[in-house]
């Protein structure tokens, strides 16, 4: 019996010839990560368990990205605790203001996560690295504390589901539209505890940035991980960045899947997830007239260069609608710098957008764009739960950067065709 890519990676990291769904294994971890919100609790767990030295200084990443540059005194204290621990332990991959980016944009960019890895992060969007053909999943702080101590984690091997994308991508259709459509189809618990394997002829048309966006939102269908088989694009992305060897895995033709879904992308229109759930998805033409107060372009879902390029191509020479606040957040310093050199940042500022230093910021209602009661936002982020971006009576509509930029110009939710 064949194995899926997820099963192969887990078997290799547990020193087993094969694993089956449901099997409990102890797996070696190639990279463990935590941020300014989850690290303080993980450090506490690490120390309470008697931890003195982390298992490997180069296999832990601590990224101060959520409430930074610090928004208030308690956040500053949290960062101070992490900073102290990082220096004490000589953590090599420690990212503070000035070098920091949003963790799931930053780690792949820096070549810290690679194909075939097992990556465990105290952040639910750790599933992003599946875009590289790695097994990666989110855990809580206590689990992460135990990984920092031992370099291992116990896992249950998830069953896989196969998502097959067919057809050519129409203009304006992005990875975000594909994943929103998929979550709309599966539901927020449709992939609970499972591995989502993204396959099909359309995948080769998707850039790495688009694949990161898709793997990133696997958790929004409840999945343990989302994963793509590496191809030429993966290799081209990884080779100049990797500082260690890596392993390419692919699913066997006779691997077993719990179920398979096929999606024809050729007729897809831009997708919107309406409040208050990422599976409340409709085509943009079916949304109706919704006036907006704010637009956010950024996050671990859509804060990469390609995302900013797409938004800028729509905003070029145009103005943000009166009464709309448009906030653009490059995912990392590198993305920011590249966007600056390409003239993209200039385009945003001329259009009337505010450009921020890299941070998770408004995505989780932390800072840099929190919503008041009754306000509506279009956002390229990943969650639109009640109160996610601010007051419990505010609303978030999740879209691609193309729809977000178009909506910023129109002052209401529209597709890019309507402003171009």
């Amino acid at each position: 019996m064949g194995m899926t890519i997820t099963e192969k990676i887990l078997a290799a990291h547990a020193d087993l010839d094969m694993v089956k769904p449901g099997q409990l294994i102890k797996a070696r971890v190639d990279m463990a990560l935590a941020n300014d919100i989850t690290a303080p609790l993980a450090i506490k767990a690490f120390k309470s368990a008697g931890g003195e030295k982390v298992f490997a200084q180069d296999k832990i990443s601590l990224v101060l990205d959520h409430f930074t540059p610090n928004k208030d005194i308690p956040s500053a204290i949290q960062c101070q605790e992490v900073r102290k621990f990082a220096y004490e332990q000589d953590i090599i991959n420690f990212y503070d203001v000035g070098s920091v980016g949003i963790e799931h944009v930053l780690l792949p960019e820096q070549g810290l996560v690679l194909p075939g890895d097992v990556v465990i992060g105290a952040d639910s969007h750790t599933c992003t690295y599946g875009a590289l053909g790695a097994f990666s999943t989110g855990v809580g702080s206590t689990d992460l504390g135990a990984v920092m101590l031992t370099g291992e984690i116990w896992l249950k091997v998830p069953p896989s589901i196969k998502l097959v994308y067919k057809g050519s991508l129409p203009k304006w259709i992005t990875g975000k539209d594909l994943i929103l459509y998929t979550i709309g189809d599966l539901g927020v618990e449709g992939a609970l505890y499972k591995a989502m394997e993204f396959c099909g002829e359309t995948i080769s048309q998707l850039s790495m940035d688009a694949r990161f966006t898709m793997a990133n939102m696997a958790i929004e269908a409840g999945a343990k991980n989302g994963i793509f088989a590496p191809d030429e694009k993966t290799e081209a992305y990884v080779q100049p960045r990797a500082k260690r060897t890596y392993q390419i895995y692919r699913s066997d033709p006779d691997a077993e899947y719990l179920f398979t879904r096929e999606y024809d992308v050729s007729t897809l229109e831009p997708q919107v997830a309406l409040p208050h759930s990422p599976d409340n998805v409709r085509g943009v033409s079916e949304v109706g007239e919704i006036k907006i107060d704010q637009v956010v372009i950024g996050s671990c879902t859509n804060g990469r260069l390609e995302d900013l390029r797409l938004a800028a191509s729509i905003l070029k020479g145009k103005k943000i609608a009166k009464g709309v606040r448009c906030i653009v957040i490059p995912g990392t310093q590198q993305v920011y710098l590249d966007a600056l050199k390409e003239g993209i940042i200039e385009t945003f500022i001329e259009a009337g957008a505010a450009v921020s230093t890299p941070t998770c910021g408004p995505c989780l209602g932390g800072h840099m764009g929190v919503l008041a009661p009754g306000e509506k936002a279009v956002s390229t982020t990943n969650r639109n739960f009640i109160g996610r971006m601010g007051h419990s009576q505010s609303e978030v509509y999740l879209t691609s950067p193309a729809v977000a930029a178009a909506s910023a110009i129109a002052g209401k939710i529209v597709g890019p065709e309507e402003v171009n």
Partner: protein, 164 residues
């Protein structure tokens, strides 16, 4: 382990932003977190809850973020067990790891209304709805999990035992 308490009913897909909004995550002090537990859908929840009460919810409880602050907030609010039809996977691990027992049962949830008193025996694997006089069988917790809960979570348990 025996638990008796009053049920607070919630629906499907109660997410971590409802359990504890991220704007309060500038601290990991459980008492501070508990003040804002469930405030997005049940304002004033923390004042209404009595020590020992029980949350009874639908499917996919705890979906969303990996924040361990979510089960910490629930536990510090006085809730001693969560019964749901199903749990999101990160929340499931986090709850046991911080010493909050959770139970998966479709039948118990379907038969429970807000305010019902439940008596839960984790050793026998039994839930009794004292208000409605109904008895349900649940999967009993294995001994190591019971010890983990009694010790207050994974880390105190490991510190005490030196292993599982």
């Amino acid at each position: 382990m025996n638990i008796t308490g009053k049920a607070w009913r919630f629906g499907d897909n109660v997410d971590t932003d409802i359990i504890i909004p991220a704007r309060y995550l500038n601290t990991s002090d459980p008492k501070e977190l508990a003040k804002h537990c469930m405030e997005g859908i049940k304002p004033g929840f923390t004042e209404l809850v009595k020590e020992g009460d029980i949350i009874v919810a639908g499917r996919n409880f705890g979906c969303g973020s990996s924040r361990e602050h979510a089960p910490l907030a629930i536990k510090a609010a006085g809730i001693q067990v969560v019964v749901a039809k199903s749990f999101a996977r990160i929340f499931y691990r986090n709850a046991f790891n911080i010493g909050l027992p959770i139970i998966e049962s479709e039948e118990v949830v379907d038969a429970t209304e807000e305010g019902d008193t439940l008596k839960i025996d984790l050793d026998k694997g039994e839930v009794i709805n004292l208000t409605k006089n109904l008895v349900f069988t649940i999967q009993p917790l294995p001994d190591f999990m019971k010890e983990l809960i009694t010790d207050g979570g994974l880390i105190p348990h490991l510190a005490k035992k030196g292993g599982y």
